[in-house]
């Protein structure tokens, strides 16, 4: 596969006309591809992008969106990304450091600086045994929710995760993706221990602690990160839900207001608001808000699962299924198998065995292999069907 470095033009001040002329005469170890900020997502999703250089004088939302996309689909490898800006202001430095970005290329010297950077990137990507290459493989599995491959790729990084913070972070993400939040917390902690300035590990730790209900510790970590960068919408949303868990509605609202001022209409703010509504029992309103969500993370996904289980256990199976249907559409790929599993359980409780089996088949597909819990439910359904064949739902 041809490896690509994206040249992302956020400035839109004529780079499209001059970039090919500027790179002429330099040798690049990866193929360069010029794109506008809007074209980053489809390009990255092809799987051939391994590096990215963003041309942006100021830290505007598209810059952060591109970094987010790279982290999601390529991996949290800061060494493979750079920004071209002559004089980035401190807030800019701080906001992109959230993604570990430290490499700034000078507008006058970027063609040669990029050549040097890509030489290093190509060397480690081509080495299949390098930590970075393994990290990219693992990330790819997570991004596309291939649970079986996640486990295999995670195991390939096992040794490196003991001494490399990127590997430890990738391992933590893998554990989070397969629902092992306790183990994920430990892996995030290890990543943080190995590099205390790697903010993504601390953010992941905060999020996993929230999922596990360790709200006080999560708040402590997230507040420390907030002091170092007060312009991160994701974190403000996490903190808002954390304070809500603590019963501090005022603080939660204040944080969401701040987030709204930074990035009006950001999907993470809507996600947090939907989560608040859900916690307050305003399921209908939460449902409405969910229509605008995408790529929902483990925290809200856990809340949705929790709510679905509660409804199902209360005998409100149909409501639970409606919730799961909606949830399945909005959560990240790697979190979908759990929704399908819970939907199967809800159907099982309602004795709708055929539908339950369909959900289980989908769960297995999303999981990417044999899943022990699926097998157990299948067995239970089989028993139930043998006992009361007449009760089968169509």
């Amino acid at each position: 596969m041809e490896r690509i470095c994206l040249i992302v033009d956020v400035n839109a001040q004529g780079l499209d006309q001059e970039w090919s002329e500027k790179v002429a005469g330099h040798e690049y170890a990866l193929k360069l591809s010029y794109v506008s900020a809007d074209e980053v997502a489809p390009m990255i999703e092809t799987g051939s992008v391994v590096a990215m250089v963003i041309f942006a004088d100021k830290c505007v939302q598209p810059v952060l969106d591109c970094l987010q996309l790279f982290r999601k689909f390529v991996g949290a490898v800061p060494a493979f990304q750079a920004i071209v800006s002559a004089d980035p202001d401190p807030y800019y430095l701080s906001e992109v450091y959230e993604y570990g970005i430290e490499q700034f290329l000078h507008p006058d010297a970027w063609p040669q600086q990029l050549a040097a950077l890509l030489e290093k990137v190509a060397a480690v990507v081509e080495d299949k045994n390098s930590i970075e290459a393994k990290t990219l493989r693992l990330n790819w599995s997570i991004a596309y929710g291939d649970q079986g491959q996640i486990i295999a790729s995670k195991d390939a990084l096992a040794e490196a995760a003991e001494y490399d913070y990127v590997a430890a972070y990738a391992k933590a993400n893998a554990l989070q993706a397969v629902g092992q939040f306790g183990e994920a917390v430990e892996a995030y902690r290890a990543s943080h221990r190995l590099n205390k300035t790697f903010r993504q590990a601390s953010s992941g730790l905060g999020e996993s602690l929230l999922v596990m209900g360790k709200v006080d510790e999560a708040i402590e970590i997230l507040e420390r990160l907030e002091r170092q960068n007060h312009r991160n919408v994701d974190r403000k949303a996490h903190l808002a839900t954390a304070y809500l868990e603590k019963g501090d509605r005022v603080k939660a609202e204040a944080l969401l207001k701040e987030a709204d001022e930074i990035a009006p209409g950001h999907p993470r703010i809507a996600e947090a608001r939907a989560e608040i509504l859900l916690v307050e029992g305003k399921v209908g309103e939460a449902f409405k808000m969910m229509d605008n969500l995408r790529d929902v993370g483990p925290l809200f996904a856990a809340k949705l699962n929790e709510m679905g289980i509660k409804l199902s256990q209360q005998g409100k199976g149909k409501s639970a299924i409606a919730l799961y249907k909606k949830a399945h559409k909005v959560v990240r790929h790697e979190l979908r198998y759990k929704i399908s599993l819970n939907a199967a359980l809800a159907c099982y409780r309602m004795a709708e065995y055929t539908v339950a089996l369909q959900y289980l088949a989908r769960c297995e597909k999303e999981f990417g292999g044999t899943y022990e819990k699926v097998e157990k439910i299948k067995l239970a359904i089989q028993k139930a069907m043998n006992k009361k064949p007449s009760l089968q739902a169509g």
Partner: protein, 464 residues
């Protein structure tokens, strides 16, 4: 093969009746990076040629114990000297002055009184064909020598201060260098160190490396290293207060907020004069460091440099200056950070500077032998050592071990070299070249070079 300009200083041997005659040439020739050696007799000159292997000899036509012709003939008798150019200074066009020059191939002539500028022009003209290297320079590939080599230096890991790994070594490190740290204890894994900075405590050099930036399996032992016990010696770390000069007030306010999140407190200096005044007032040693967002070469830049240099080593806080220059090199007084920089790099540099203020040497209990290693390319050899190419600027004055199997044999195991000059190859590449002197070449250069030339010839013969 391209060579960086001004890397190899040319040695010029002046053979004149009175040494005072070369004094006038001194400042100009030093500026042009020429090394001048003076002799006042033919006998002394021949001894110095043997010792110094000059790249050019400038001689009077008539000497106290001979003439330029005698010098030429004697140099022609030895293969190693016969290609050294000779420039003859003719006082007047008399038969006495001209006769010794007949039938001999001199590189050039200067007639009448020697003017420094005219002499410099003539010297430059003669040396032009080999301007960037020594005339004796042999390319590594032409001498069938392996180009890949490793630069190494011995160091001792002495512990950690917070997130800074502290090592004691003979050499300064460059922040752009990535160094492989190989512990002598083979049970411990290697580690890649970067963003190194140097701390001088008396005559000792300590290298600080941010632990967060360390990569490789060696990180396991590095993260579990003991903290240097500062409490034990009753010396606390300096405060995290720093004088911070930024010409833009709104930028300063942003820095204040961002760095405040890392517990670094900024004291605002609106201009360099203000920074200088604050620095002069700082006498109690509690200041963490000084950050200057720019250090121009105008009057205010020169003024603050003077203020910094006047502060005694012991009480001078570390000074970090941001620069867009690609060739700015850190000194003992000022450490440069290349713009545009990332936040992590700035925070790590400030942290290392603040930590370096503590009297950490008193609390050191650990001593773990390691080697720093970094790959380099051997470009060639000359009568003093040779030229190396690296991807970062090696620090001038560093004593390093040049790990190269063939050179190790040729130098009989003594692989120590000293870096004498460093230059960037050109603006479009990230390559640096370093001129080094081999320890084994110290002393009589012609004997050393004869031996080296013989070994290179043998090698060429064997390979053919």
């Amino acid at each position: 093969m391209e060579y960086a300009k001004g890397l190899t200083p040319h040695t010029i041997l002046f053979l004149v009746d009175k040494p005072e005659r070369t004094i006038a040439l001194g400042p100009l020739f030093t500026k042009l990076k020429y090394k001048i050696v003076t002799s006042t007799s033919l006998y002394d000159c021949l001894r110095l040629i043997d010792q110094e292997m000059p790249h050019l000899v400038v001689t009077d036509s008539i000497l106290s114990d001979g003439n330029a012709g005698n010098l030429y003939d004697r140099m022609q008798q030895q293969a190693i000297f016969k290609d050294i150019p000779i420039l003859v200074v003719i006082a007047a066009k008399t038969v006495d002055q001209l006769n010794p020059l007949k039938g001999r191939k001199f590189a050039g002539f200067v007639l009448g009184k020697v003017e420094p500028k005219a002499m410099a022009l003539k010297v430059k003209e003669i040396l032009e064909s080999r301007a960037d290297v020594s005339p004796f320079f042999v390319r590594a590939d032409a001498g069938m020598l392996q180009e890949d080599c490793t630069l190494a230096t011995n160091a001792r890991v002495v512990g950690r201060i917070g997130d800074q790994l502290v090592c004691h070594s003979d050499s300064e490190v460059d922040p752009d260098a990535t160094l492989l740290c190989q512990p002598q204890d083979k049970a411990k894994g290697p580690a890649l160190l970067r963003l190194g900075s140097n701390v001088h405590k008396g005559t000792s050099i300590y290298n600080f490396f941010p632990v967060n930036q360390v990569k490789g399996s060696g990180k396991v032992w590095i993260t579990t290293l003991p903290e240097i016990n500062l409490d034990r010696v009753g010396k606390s770390i300096a405060t995290s207060k720093i004088i911070f000069y930024d010409p833009k007030p709104e930028r300063f306010e942003q820095f204040k907020r961002v760095l405040g999140g890392y517990d670094i407190e900024l004291i605002y200096a609106s201009n360099l004069q203000a920074a200088g005044a604050l620095l002069q007032r700082e006498t109690d040693g509690t200041l963490g460091c000084v950050y200057l967002d720019e250090l121009p070469s105008n009057a205010s830049g020169i003024s603050i440099k003077e203020i910094i240099s006047k502060i005694p080593d012991k009480s001078r806080p570390p000074v970090i200056a941001a620069t867009t220059s690609l060739v700015a090199r850190s000194t003992k007084e000022i450490q440069y950070i290349k713009k545009p920089f990332g936040l992590g790099t700035l925070v790590e540099m400030l942290d290392a500077a603040i930590k370096s203020r503590s009297s950490f040497t008193d609390g050191v209990t650990l001593s773990q032998e390691v080697h720093y290693q970094t790959p380099a390319k051997l470009l060639g050899l000359d009568e003093t050592g040779g030229i190396l190419q690296t991807k970062f600027p090696v620090v001038i004055g560093n004593k390093l071990l040049l790990q190269h199997a063939e050179l190790s044999l040729m130098w009989e195991g003594n692989t120590e070299v000293r870096i004498t000059s460093v230059a960037r190859l050109d603006d479009s590449t990230n390559l640096w070249q370093a001129k080094f002197e081999a320890l084994t070449a110290q002393g009589n250069k012609s004997r050393y070079w004869e031996k080296m030339s013989r070994q290179i010839s043998d090698k060429l013969l064997q390979s053919s």
